[in-house]
Structures are given as C-alpha cells and as structure tokens.
Symmetry: D2
Subunit: 346 residues, 4 copies
Amino acid sequence: MMNFRSDNESGAHPLIVEAVARAFASGPAFAYGADAWTQRVEQHLREIFERPDLVAHPVLTGTAANGLALACCAPPWGAIFAHPTAHIASEETNAPELFTSGARIFRIDGPNGKMDIKKLSEALAQPIYGVVHFPQPSVVSVTEASECGTIYTREEIAAVATCAREYGLKVHMDGARFANALAFIGCTPAELTWKVGVDVLSLGATKNGAMGAEVVIFFNSQLAREFEFRRKRGGHLLSKMRLLSAQLAAYFNEGLWLDNARHANAMAQRLAAGLTSLEGTSLLYPVDANEIFTVLPSHIHDALRAAGAQYHARPSGQPGKRAFRLVTSFDTDPADIDSVLAVAKS
Amino acid sequence: MMNFRSDNESGAHPLIVEAVARAFASGPAFAYGADAWTQRVEQHLREIFERPDLVAHPVLTGTAANGLALACCAPPWGAIFAHPTAHIASEETNAPELFTSGARIFRIDGPNGKMDIKKLSEALAQPIYGVVHFPQPSVVSVTEASECGTIYTREEIAAVATCAREYGLKVHMDGARFANALAFIGCTPAELTWKVGVDVLSLGATKNGAMGAEVVIFFNSQLAREFEFRRKRGGHLLSKMRLLSAQLAAYFNEGLWLDNARHANAMAQRLAAGLTSLEGTSLLYPVDANEIFTVLPSHIHDALRAAGAQYHARPSGQPGKRAFRLVTSFDTDPADIDSVLAVAKS
Amino acid sequence: MMNFRSDNESGAHPLIVEAVARAFASGPAFAYGADAWTQRVEQHLREIFERPDLVAHPVLTGTAANGLALACCAPPWGAIFAHPTAHIASEETNAPELFTSGARIFRIDGPNGKMDIKKLSEALAQPIYGVVHFPQPSVVSVTEASECGTIYTREEIAAVATCAREYGLKVHMDGARFANALAFIGCTPAELTWKVGVDVLSLGATKNGAMGAEVVIFFNSQLAREFEFRRKRGGHLLSKMRLLSAQLAAYFNEGLWLDNARHANAMAQRLAAGLTSLEGTSLLYPVDANEIFTVLPSHIHDALRAAGAQYHARPSGQPGKRAFRLVTSFDTDPADIDSVLAVAKS
Amino acid sequence: MMNFRSDNESGAHPLIVEAVARAFASGPAFAYGADAWTQRVEQHLREIFERPDLVAHPVLTGTAANGLALACCAPPWGAIFAHPTAHIASEETNAPELFTSGARIFRIDGPNGKMDIKKLSEALAQPIYGVVHFPQPSVVSVTEASECGTIYTREEIAAVATCAREYGLKVHMDGARFANALAFIGCTPAELTWKVGVDVLSLGATKNGAMGAEVVIFFNSQLAREFEFRRKRGGHLLSKMRLLSAQLAAYFNEGLWLDNARHANAMAQRLAAGLTSLEGTSLLYPVDANEIFTVLPSHIHDALRAAGAQYHARPSGQPGKRAFRLVTSFDTDPADIDSVLAVAKS
C-alpha cells in the first residue's frame, strides 16, 4: 500500500474510533454540545494550552473551522492576509467570503509557503485605515505547518503577529497540521500560539488520525462571542456533538496527537533522506512536517508508478522537470517507505 | 433512563457504529466522497427510491441539508414557503438566508403543524411574478414528519406540490424524520416523494439511530448542479467522507432505518395510549410519528419528574394548562414507557 | 392630470431642482461627501432634531436607507420585527437580507397598518435570547406614516420603543413619508423620533418633492460606526454627493418639507371628504397622511376611469367589493381633486 | 482654480443639468424606469452601439454598476480576474463580494495598468474547472480607460476576450472613463466592446460631465435576466428614474459625451507635454486618457502647491522621487493648464 497521495486518505487511529464507539454506546447525552465529552475537551485544552480562559468549539471540517474563525475576526468590509498557498486563499472555494459575508483575501507571497514579513509589512502600511474606499485590514492568517510542508519558527510567527498587532489586526492560525508543527519544533502548544501572538487557532485532527474533527480555539475570548451563532447558522452545530468531541478527547489523550504527528514527520524524513540521495532528485522545499515536494527524474517516477506507488504531481517551476508531492501519515508503514526507496534506487 | 427529551439525545445503533469502525479500519480511501461507501450509498438510494437518475450527497447536519437544498431552489431574491413550526422557519437561525444568500421565508400556517393548502394557494396567487419589488416565490418546504409529530398524507403532499407546480415553484421536503413518516404511512419511499411531486429531500438519519448523518437527495438532477460547490464553500465537504457514508450505508441496509422508525413510532403509540387514558391529559396533535405533545395535570407531571422522567415543556395554548413534549427514539426501552405510565397512573 | 397613482410619479419641487442646478454650476467640490452641502445638511438636521450629536448620511433610495440602517442594528443571525405591510417586509425584495447578510424579518400584524403592541410584546417575550437555535431579536421597525396611510401617535411609538428596549432591541423608523406624519401630528421632529425612543430614522424626501434623496439619521451614534463602510460596499456612496445633499438642503430649508407634506395631506383630506360623502364608498383605513384606501362602487370607478383619473386597485378584503388607493402629492392641484369629485358625484 | 485632484470633483455639464431640470418640470411620469426618458436612453444606446438587442439599465454609481454587472457573470463560488489597480480590485471595498454573494477577485498584474495577457492565460489554464475545491473562473474585467490613465487597444481587448472565451468566461468592461477611451482610439462604441468580445459594460457618465449616472449595458442579453432583481434588492432602483435617465439622455445626445472626453483628453495632453519638457519630471505611464502620473522634482511641486494647484500624491516606485496624479476633466479650463505650466517652468 504505497499510498502517499494525502493524509486525508488515511483511515483513523483505533483509539479514536473506539472512543467514538464507546461514546455512542453509553446511552443518551445532552444535545448540541452540552454533553460531557465536549465539556471535557474544552477543559483539557485549557490545560494543554495553559490558558484557563480559552474557548474551544469543535467543528467537522477545516474549511468550516477557518471560515468561522475568520468571520469572528473580519467584518464584511475587511481584508484578510495570507500566503497564496494557504488553503483559505487557494483551496476552500470562497468559504471565507461566505462565512465573513464578503471579506476579501489578499495574498502575501514569500518563499517556502511562508509569508514574507517585509511584504506583509508593506501591505499593512498602506494609508487606508478608516478610509471607506478600501477593504479594512482585519486579520492575518498563518498556516502552520504550511501547505509546502514547511513550518514557521516561533520567531517568524511572533514577527507576523507583531506586525499585525501594530496595525490592529488579529492573528489566525490554520493549524490543519498543527501537531506536525509542534512535534517538529518541540515547544509547548502555548509557545507556538498565544505566547507568540495568535488569537484564534483552527486545530485539525482529521489529517492526523481522526475520522473527521477539528476544533476552533479562541485565546481572545472576546472574539468568540459570535462564534456559536455563526456555527449554528452555518449548519455546523451537531445535535450529537459527541461524534466530534469523543474523537478530540481521544486525540488529545496521553499525547496521541503528538505521537501520531511524530510518526508522520519521521516517515517523511526517512522518505526524503532516501529520495534526495538519488541522482536527479531535488526538494522544492525543506521537509519540516509530513509533506515532501520533490523533483523526480522520469525513470524513477515511472518505476514507482509501475510498482504501484501513489502520489500527486505538482508544478516544479523548473522547465523540463516534473515535481511531485508525497505525503506521509500517522499510519504510514515504514516498510512502505523502504519499498518505495528500494524501487526508486533500482 | 426515562429520557424523553429528544431523539437527538439518543446514542447510535450498534450496526451503524460498527460500520463506521470497520470503514476506518480498512486503510486508505479516496478523499472527498470519491470513496466506495459514498458511491454505494448513492447507488443504493437509487434502488430504494426507484430512480436510477437521482443524485445523493451526504452532509453532517439537518440544518446544512435544508440550507443547501433550498439554495439550489431559490435565488437571493426568492421566497420560500413553510409552516411556522418548520425548522427552517423557527429553529435554524437564519441558515436558509446564509445558504441562499438572502432568500426570505414566508410562513404558511395551518393546523397540526401542516400548511393549510388554501392559505398556501392564496399566498402563491399574488400577482407578483416577475415584478421586481417582490420576493419571487421559488420553493415550498414541507416537513415530513412535521415538528408537531404529525404526518402529511401522500394526498396532502401531492396537493402542496400541485399548487407549487402551478406557479413554477420547486418542492423541498425536510425529512429529518422521514423514516418515521414512511413507517407510519406504509408506502414506498418513491410514493412519498417524487411520485407526489417532491424535487429534493433532506433525509435525516441522525434522529433515528445514526451518530450524525443526513443525505440530500435530488430527484430533479438539474437542481443538483450547483450543490457540490455550495457544499464545499459551506465547509460541509468532508475529506474522509466515509464517516458519513458508512453510517448511511448501514442505515439503509436491510431496512434498519425503517425498523428503527417503526420501533420509535410504536413506543410513541404505546406511551400516548397510556397517557390519554388518564384523566386530565389531552393530546395537542395526533400522534403519527415519534413525538407526543400532551397536556398533563400538575400532579402527574410532578410525579413523573420526581421519578426522574425527562421531557421538555411546550406552550399548551390553553389557559391554566401545561403541555409537554415527549419524544421516543429507535432505542427507547418499552420498560421505560411502562415505568412512565406506571408512575403517571399512580 | 388626475394622476393619483403614486407620489413616486410626481415631478420635483422647483426649489429643489434649482438648488441642484446651482450646486453643479458652482465648480469643483470635494468628492464623496466631504463637500459643503453635505456638511451643511448634517448641521441643519442637528438643529432641526435638537440633537447636536446626530449623524446623518444621504442615500439615494428608501430601499437602501432601510437596508443600510437595519444592517447597523441587526447581525446576520438577527431578527427584525415589522408590520406585514411595511416596505421592508413586503416590497423591497430581500434588500434587508442583503444588507444585513441574512437577518430575518418577522411580521407583527395589527389593524390599520400598525403593529399590535400586544403581538409585538408576545413575540419578544419568547425565551430565545442567547439560544443559538433561534434568530436573535435585534430591531423593531415602524413605518411612519404607515403604508396604509395611517400614522402612529407619539404614544404608540413610545409603546413600541419601550417594549423593544425592554428586550434590548433597537428601534428603526422607516420615514419615507415622515414629513406627512410630522405635519399631521404637529409635533417637533425630535418629539416623533428620539424623544419617543427611535434610534435610527430613514427620512425620505423623494416622495415629497425631491428628485431622489433620502437621509439616514442616527440618534444613537454608536450605531453609525459601520454605516459608511456598509454604504460604500453597497455602491451607495456618490462621488458627487451634492446631487443628493443639495436636494436635501433645499428640502429642509425654511420648512419646505413640511409645506409640501401639509399640502399633500390637505389634498388627501379634501379628496377623502368628498369621496366618503358618496353612497357606496367606504374607507379601508383612516386617512392620516396622503394616501386614501377606499371601496368604490363600480359606477363611480368606471366614470372616474373614463374621465382619465388614474389610481391603483388594492384588495378590499370584502367579498364583491373593489377597493382602490389614491395618493396625493406635494404638487397635487386642488382643481384635480375637484374634477375627480365632480366626476364621482355625477 | 487649478484643481487637478479628480474628475469626481467637477461640477456637471450645463446641458445635463438642464435636461434634468426639464424632466422634473414636466409633471408625473411612470415610476421605476417605466418613464419615457429611460426607454429612450436604451433605444438610443441600441443605435449608438449598433445592437438592437442590447439591454441597458441606469444606476447611480460606478461601484454599483460594476458590482451588479459582475453578479450577473459570477456565482458565489466564482473567480473574477482583474488588474490590481482595477477599482473592483483596489477601491470598491468588497462591493463585488457583496453583489456576487462571495465571488473572489484574482489579480492579474501587468505594466501600465493593463493585464498581462500571458499571466491571464496562465491563470486560466489551471486545471481547476469543475473541481469543487477551487473558485471557478467566471469573468475577466478590463478597465477602459485603465486606472493608470492608459487605454487598452482594440487588439488587446480582443486578446483578453479570446483568452476568456477559451475557458468559458465572460468579459466585463469597467468603462468609468469609456468615453475617454473611445475619444482616444477613435473607433465606434461597437468596435471597442461587443465586436471585440465584451459581454457587459459599466459605462460611466459621472466622471465626464454628469451629476451622477452610469449605465450597465448587456450585449449578451441572457446575462441581463437577473439584473433587475439584483438592482432592486441592492437599493439601486430609483422610483423617479428620470433623475438618472435624463442625465444619460443628454450625455449621449449629439455626441456630448465624446466632446467632453475629447476636451479632457486634450487638456491632459497639453499638460503632459508641458510638464515633460521640464527637467526632472518623468511620466509613470503613457498619457492616453485624462490622467497624468508624473514624477515632479520638489522645487516644482512646492511652487505648484504654493500657487494653489491641487492634485494627489501617488507612489513613484522610485527611491527618493515623489510622484503625483493630475486629472483633467470635461470642464478643465485651458488657462488653468497654462497657469500650472507657467508656475512649473518658473
């Protein structure tokens, strides 16, 4: 099963599946998030993030988590700043516009999937504040880990947040692969979020072992006031919320989320190390998390495909060369890595 | 466990939980609904509804199912007609307005939670078609079973649909408790939907044994064209769609949905029969499905509460009398019914 | 010219037309409302309304004035309360939904085009505040004069506002015919608005002698904060704002607005008195402002039409009887009234 | 009066003011655009544009014209392509998002305020059509004349349109200064629009001598079907439409629009020629229409300001140099040009 297409295609971790099964075997529970699992998840997150005042709300998808979080930060006449590869800017089909009732996304480019702080700073320095002709800068969104498989350092996030703060903007983090970033950097959750200026975090579990669960975490509880109405009218409030909360409870329990992420990251390192030792390959970006973007010579690609390896093509940006994305996951079998490398080397 | 608060508070049927667990233990699967479970559910629904051309899309919540279905039927300047008790009119916090980008709901009253066909007809007969000053009538939504626990007969739905058709409107059915209606009437799914003029159905499983799964079924496939873009931008497209599809596959398998509904309906009958035999009680509406709305004398209500029975108050509409809603479910234990009745009689 | 179709069909008062011509002959002026006319109008309104802190913004149409004003009072999950005949509820094609990003209008019926305070009170007394399943009551809108040609007394408005305040709602007044109301009641502008609890007023000039100009007046300046961004993104900020402001300056100058309204009201009284003296006629509503809704026997109606009188039909609500609306205007010629009455009597 | 701040600050042409005054002195007229002026304008535009089937709708502002036109071309999940300097992309505060219910603007850069056709082609060539994760390319918008004062040649527009057509997109032209472009190129209106592939045109009059009037012209009448509902719910349907239509009638009468534009263009040429003959000045862009973007040495700028000349600063893009925008208008006095040049030279 040499499937490196996407961490979205993985199954789920048995502990998470079991937790849900147990939750639904336990009889009636209060509906709409008043159940014990949901309460417990929020309580646990308060401990994990060392913030007894944080507000946490589960939702089903990352698109919803991002859209709803941003809607709490940007009015309909607001401007959102993000890297062009950020999912909110490139893949979520105008969901931010739906949830914010029309805020606009401005793209701040930069190498390796990360915003160039100088470009962000220039964009925010425009003399447009309070001028009705211009979308009003409202929130900066960083994707951690980025969609290029790289990870902002704590200092880089702090720089973005400092710049945002200077102009009165909020900071959102799209943490669809937050656990991978945390595992890579080795700091605490607090150190990668509110301690460096993040106001609201879309924390994903789906790509890292859950069946389908994300949680929006507000470190600035003022921002959370409208969230529940926005979630409800978006059709994202579950009656049987334990479907999400039981997953999240298991995900954060005894460090499962970090174990999963460490495994996925390690598998990516192993794969990247093997591939880059081959002639004609070259990485498009550093491999920080669980995604590898690499140029592959045709004979290697052909051999891998023939052997059944699966992965997606990506633009190489280099004439005459073809590039590909390989994604590892919480359940990637090291033997599959080795099989891929054996084929590639032969 | 005399919990009659809501079918939303029930756990899930073991076969449905097991199906999900199995699905997630089976390794990688194509993401975003290209998996085998999702394909199979649509195929199965084509057989069940005797329509090889129907289009079926799973979503997580009834609010999303209704909002997205209506958005395929009504433009931003459209008018939606529904009974005041319909969830789209009374409980879903402007979700239809969000998904339709601003269509307006008009309330058509009528006894027992069902629209009065004469009032609907009068509303649709206004000379407003094509006149820019007025919201344009676009879709009628019937709730089957209704929020009063009653069920439109096939003839009643046909009358609504005929009236809607005459003015060029589409017909939506909110079938959050569709299985209960089907079980009560005893007809085929086709006979309760497209054969009597329904264009699009929000078919719920969550209230009837699933953990969280609904499916939007388009009998008019033209209407479905925009659905997938609308679902994506609403944050309702799951990466690991099998979370919903595996539930639905089990739900429709070997008639589980109807078995569950029959049980819930039977429990409601048993409870209603027992209660109405007591002096001072009276039903607000006929008990067709799994909800009982009844006046209870204070001494009975107090005794039930003291014994631990749980249920919500509802307006009685009668001075000096208090009314309550009791909801049965797929997993209601007949012994709980008997306990309630025993307490009530004593 | 026996045209009683609508005050929207009138021309404009010469003083207003001249003011605009003069304004545009005077060379360059700052754009987007920074011109002297716009500043002067706001200043004048502060005097007229005895509120040095009011905020006034011109817009082109009543639909925009209402939609933008309501958007400053109701969030996307909000509920707006209005009489079924209010233009926001019956004629403005989901404009409130557009400007509010999806708030919902609830209809509070009552005789003579005015909300029944008891029904309003009951609607607001529902236990739904802060509950995510329900649209959140946000603003009550009164139409003064009403669309039935009647006028809320100061006491009636105060009662609505007191009820609204009790539940934390704002009060909006649709004053498309505000001058007619003021002329009828004979009180000061302050006494009909903020002194009886109105937070924001859509004050119309178009129906009363302007070419096209309305002004949104915020007595609660907190509410006005977002207005300018909302107006801009709605395409309602004029570059050459003097087109509106010069009209408004002339409209409020030396009481022109009240003179115009007094004339229109007087013409309506004259017409109503004449018509009601005829056998078979009967008014549907009291004639307070400049609109007459009356049953006319066929022979009178036929004679009027044959003589060239123009007016619209309206539902009579009485079997076998036909009703009509006749509207007078700032420029209605008394001779036309007399001609109509002469024809009707013969 | 050396005012070169903006053509938005000019007064209006006397013939246009007179036309409006006459229209409002002529007694009652049908409301909401059923009047004779509005009908005549559409008829005249059919002749001017040699398209007997075109559909033309007046609106008040350019922001509304653009937003409403785009909303007829792009669904809420659509993508709109425009140059970063286009007003829809840079100045209209998310109005396109409001009117389209959430479509997204993608910026296609290029020199001189015009999209680079190669960049447009690459953006449209992405394999995203029909894929739910991506905004769907729907319409390309060209600004003619551009916001840099340059003008797309007919061939350049045809190239954009051919590229758009290849991928099924519509073509919108923001013609806030369309007359200036027409006057510069010297072709017919048809040759600059539908004959080179334009589907819908926002044709402005406000910047070129009107008080406030624009007209949206659909060459593809299919696209126009929804326009009237969109305009109404946007609050942009005037009751007394002659306020706009009488302006437009005069604007297009006997070539006034082109006379005005020719004058403004000629004044810009005269001013540019004079300025560029001075040492230290340099144009940022070719001067095709009525806007000059130029670097000015400090001593010249200081002298001009001291003499009372008014104009706005603009980024020069060159370190240590300051740039400015000077705009001429239909009513620019040649003597003012000469005064400016005299000051600059001294």
